[in-house]
Subunit: 310 residues, 2 copies
């Protein structure tokens, strides 16, 4: 294991640092009779977090760990991390430059601009946005806040796990989408052996599955309905090592199952999540991940930045 | 007081009857720093209830209290109660005929039809829909489930209060929209003297305020952005007597404040509520209702049936 892999104690330290600046988002539990599944499903409604996604946790933790006197940050992402960095930067009184693909949804770009950050639209995917951001960071001296593959980002994301242990103390399983893998790795660090953490990927963004199969991090082509949330070209080193260590097998879900899960959340619960935030639920509703009778699976609904106010 | 006024014991009986058939919807608490208000705001996210609004509570309680052998119910409403009766009827294996104004949002009509109920579109407002429903009930022998002015409806709605006492044990104030007043009266019965229950009306649907001013129930013209949720032509007798008994003063809010509160819920929390469900929050954000430092106000977000999946 590399030295930069966060552990539970690091997540606890991040939670102490974040304190009340992060919302304790609610959990809604669905009984088996509601879902047709054998066990209970506890939906973690993290789309209600500051900036509209879990990314606020890692972004603010990262900003709070910057050297004193830092006045500028930059970030690249599909949009959610960028919005979160914009939020955290404004909160800390520093500037933010955010690089996103030209294909990012208007709801994500509006978020970023709404926090006063400068948006740079980059042709290509998150990979190209990250390259542009790295060049900017070197040229301008702005501190780069990585969307998923940095110790502070992962430890911050993991703070969701500490909340969940209190909110759903009997959980057997935690199901979470994996793009770059920051949230997956953070939850794995937080839950340690208390509950299994199951990563789920869109079959059109299979970075973790492909890397585990290859035995090393590989780049994959990314696309599909959840690409704006989970379109990292390669899974992070931290998440890769976490998955290798635990021996977990990622599950892949199809776009049509993601869209169906999104419709389920809206029709049944009036929760309007972004497609990437419906990937974990899709794996349960589609039958790829099982929750047995008497068990409770936590399912993270990770963000809601896809749609403008209808 | 009339004999049909539900009391706390009646609400407790309704909660026992409903059991696990009703969802325990989550609460999201906002600190003063988030809202700019002096005290805390605890949002009761009742739009996540079965059928997309609190109406499921009263509708199912009413259906479960029907005489054995009842095979058909009918209902009239702006749409939310109709959807709730459709849901409760399907659950109990009986038929439902629902009368709604032709102006009801498609999201409400789709809900009702989605539960297998027959929809009857009526020119006019909820008043005309109620008249048509009454005629249907007499002609066809279907049991009429009143949207707000029946003992079982109000006692069922009040079950939200029992949940809230557990979820927000330190609440000082409960702020709730009032149309026909079923939820207001139910919460007043549930909370008794534990917390003040403050009814809020759109200034274009001022049924309770006008009736209290007149000293008797009067009909008012209804309109505005929340008319599909709160457009009862006159407040119910139960709610009227409850308000007279407590001496509460209803607060009126303008359409623009309701729309602003709806935008706030979406922009800050990714909660997509219907306008009528934003009336209570509007009264706090607009300054008509105060929550003092150290206090917590529960604010009910009562439904989300206004928009189709974007």
């Amino acid at each position: 294991m590399s030295a930069h892999q966060p552990r539970r104690a690091d997540v606890e330290e991040a939670a102490f640092r974040l304190g009340g600046a992060i919302r304790r988002t609610p959990v809604m539990t669905l009984a088996p009779g509601e879902t047709g599944l054998d066990g209970h499903v506890a939906l973690k409604l993290e789309l209600m977090q500051h900036s509209g996604s879990f990314k606020a946790r890692g972004a603010l933790n990262s900003v709070l760990c910057l050297p004193p006197g830092t006045t500028a940050v930059c970030a690249a992402s599909g949009g959610n991390h960028g919005g979160a960095v914009g939020w955290a930067a404004r909160r800390s009184g520093i500037t933010a430059d955010v690089f996103v693909p030209t294909t990012a949804p208007a709801a994500k770009i509006d978020r970023i601009r709404g926090y006063g950050a400068r948006v740079h639209l980059v042709e290509g995917t998150v990979r190209e946005a990250l390259q542009a951001c790295l060049s900017f960071s070197q040229a301008e001296g702005a501190a780069l806040v990585h969307p998923y593959d940095a110790f502070e980002t992962v430890a911050g994301a993991g703070t969701m796990g500490l909340e969940l242990e209190e909110q759903v103390p009997d959980a057997d399983l935690v199901v979470v989408a994996c793009g770059g893998g920051g949230l997956y790795a953070g939850l794995a660090a937080s839950f340690e052996t208390v509950a299994d953490v199951q990563p789920v990927e869109p079959d059109r963004c299979p970075g973790l599955a492909a890397s585990l199969a290859a035995g090393r991090r590989v780049e994959v082509a990314v696309g599909g309905v959840a690409v704006d949330s989970l379109g990292a070209a390669s899974v992070g080193q931290i998440a890769f090592e976490s998955a290798q260590e635990s021996g977990v097998k990622p599950v892949l879900v199809a776009d049509e199952d993601i869209t169906a899960a999104r419709g389920y959340l809206w029709d049944r619960l009036r929760v309007l999540a972004e497609p990437g935030a419906c990937v974990a639920l899709a794996s349960l509703l589609g039958g790829q991940v099982a929750v047995r009778a008497g068990q409770t699976a936590i399912v993270v609904v990770s963000g809601g930045n896809h749609t403008s106010l209808p």
